[in-house]
């Protein structure tokens, strides 16, 4: 990754950024919680949505636009942007 790409990545504060490792998932740049159950968590990152699905999902911590999710994470999905947005798919 060159410097330009890195800078773009760092300043993409409205884009989903997810880190999933084993039973833990870290969702960054979260602006809004859209849907929350123990099997699915959908969050709004500003320009896109992301969803984490699995079993016994729990939000371990919410702090400063970061959501820490624990449980059996089965899948991660990204949804298109909102109507009228440039990146709407």
């Amino acid at each position: 990754m060159n410097v330009k790409d890195e800078l773009l990545y760092d300043f993409s504060i409205k884009m989903p950024r997810l880190l999933v490792s084993g039973n833990t998932g870290i969702l960054d740049n979260v602006k809004k919680i859209v849907y929350i159950t123990d099997s699915s968590i959908v969050v709004d990152h500003g320009s896109r949505f992301s969803a984490v699905s699995g079993d016994d999902l729990r939000i371990k911590l919410i702090e400063e636009e970061r959501v820490l999710v624990t449980g059996n994470i089965r899948s991660v999905e990204f949804y298109s942007g909102k109507k009228g947005d440039a990146d709407e798919k």
Partner: protein, 410 residues
């Protein structure tokens, strides 16, 4: 982003149950208001449990408004724990009691360490310390000057005593003096002098002249084997009457009969205790300086026999002693002891006298006991005659006539 000083979840956190619709909206609102949330557990569409810092609780209530029913389930953190602990009177009393016990136990001696002893045994020193009032379990307020003085008087040849407290440990340091006479250098002339008084029995002079023949009564300092040997010149042309002296390093062994007269006492009458059948049972408790014996309070018998079974006896952390005591009433009658009993006891006292007063490896030549009955006691005079090796080297200082004169006078 400017960080707010909120403390942490460890400091004080509140676990609440939130009941209401659109839980996600409330969580999003909390995110906007920068309220950290922890352990969000969605129970159903209208129920969730979450944890937040107590600092944010009021803001959370304002955010939730009256759309949600909020119930505090529990509070965690060291602040509520401390508040809870100190809020109870029993805890405060317990803490004060603990502090008092800690202070109280620090006022006692729990261990005694003795250092520096050579000729004495540790038990001898411990016994002497106990007599002086310093023992394991005693109060630290014991007069150390008096303890030292007692030790100086009780134990011979003590040059220095140091007692210091290290916490509950009393460290007793002893420096023993040196009284062993240094043997005279082989190259120097010396006499063998008596170190005890007695009758000379046998002298084996390897070097020097016998100064005290058999039967002579000598006192300490008297010359037994002289290092000044008279020499009569027999050389041709030398006047025969001229005598001169030769100084030698005396060597030899001198045995003397040493008399010992020791006085002991015996009881003339023996007490016979006949139980009446009356008795009382009580307890004895000692906690530090506090002593209570219920049997002593209730005891109204003129004559009684005291028995105790020790159940608890600890020194650390606090000296505690507890025992069950029994006091039996008795009638005391006196009976004169038989001659056989008195003689038996006299012989035991003689054996004790030999062990206590005579040096080791001496030959007992004679032993006699003389009983002098008094009103209540019997005096026992023990006469002993022992064959002992006496004599020690003393250097002859040439030209020092005063020294020689002194020895002669002895």
């Amino acid at each position: 982003m400017l960080m707010k000083n909120r403390g942490s979840f460890l400091e004080h956190s509140v676990t609440i149950k939130v009941e209401g619709f659109e839980q996600q909206k409330l969580i999003t609102e909390c995110m906007r208001k920068d309220i950290p949330l922890k352990d969000i557990h969605i129970l159903s569409d209208i129920e969730m449990i979450l944890t937040l810092m107590e600092w944010d609780y009021q803001t959370f209530l304002k955010t939730a408004k009256n759309k949600y029913r909020i119930t505090i389930l529990r509070e965690r953190g060291y602040k509520p724990a401390a508040k809870k602990a100190f809020g109870k009177k029993s805890t405060i009393v317990g803490l004060i009691l603990f502090a008092l016990i800690l202070y109280y136990q620090s006022t006692f001696v729990s261990e005694i360490r003795i250092l520096g002893y050579e000729s004495f045994t540790e038990s001898e020193i411990r016994e002497s310390l106990k007599e002086a009032g310093l023992y394991e379990g005693c109060s630290k307020s014991v007069d150390l000057k008096a303890v030292k003085l007692h030790l100086y008087n009780d134990l011979d040849n003590i040059a220095w005593i140091g007692v210091k407290y290290i916490g509950n440990l009393a460290e007793v340091t002893i420096a023993e003096g040196t009284i062993t006479p240094k043997p005279v250098d082989k190259s120097k002339p010396c006499d063998i002098i008596a170190d005890k008084e007695g009758y000379v029995e046998k002298t084996i002079a390897r070097e020097g002249v016998v100064a005290a023949p058999q039967g002579t009564y000598v006192k300490p300092g008297d010359v037994l084997i002289s290092g000044i040997v008279p020499v009569k010149s027999t050389a041709y042309g030398t006047p025969g009457v001229d005598t001169t002296e030769r100084y030698v390093h005396s060597e030899g062994e001198v045995y003397a009969r040493i008399p010992y007269r020791l006085n002991y006492y015996q009881e003339r009458y023996r007490d016979i205790k006949t139980p009446t059948g009356n008795s009382l049972v009580g307890f004895r408790i000692e906690i530090g300086g506090f002593k209570l014996n219920s049997a002593n309070i209730l005891n109204h018998y003129d004559n009684s026999v005291y028995e105790e079974i020790k159940l608890i006896h600890t020194v650390r952390p606090i000296p505690i002693s507890f025992g069950i005591v029994k006091i039996d009433e008795v009638i005391v009658t006196e009976q004169e002891r038989s001659q056989e009993e008195i003689e038996k006891e006299g012989n035991r006292q003689a054996r004790l006298a030999i062990r206590e007063n005579l040096p080791e490896n001496v030959q007992i030549l004679n032993k006699s006991l003389k009983f002098s009955p008094g009103e209540n006691i019997i005096g026992v005079a023990i006469m002993l005659e022992a064959l002992e090796k006496i004599g020690m080297e003393k250097e002859i200082v040439i030209g020092n006539t005063t020294d020689r004169g002194t020895e002669d006078q002895n």
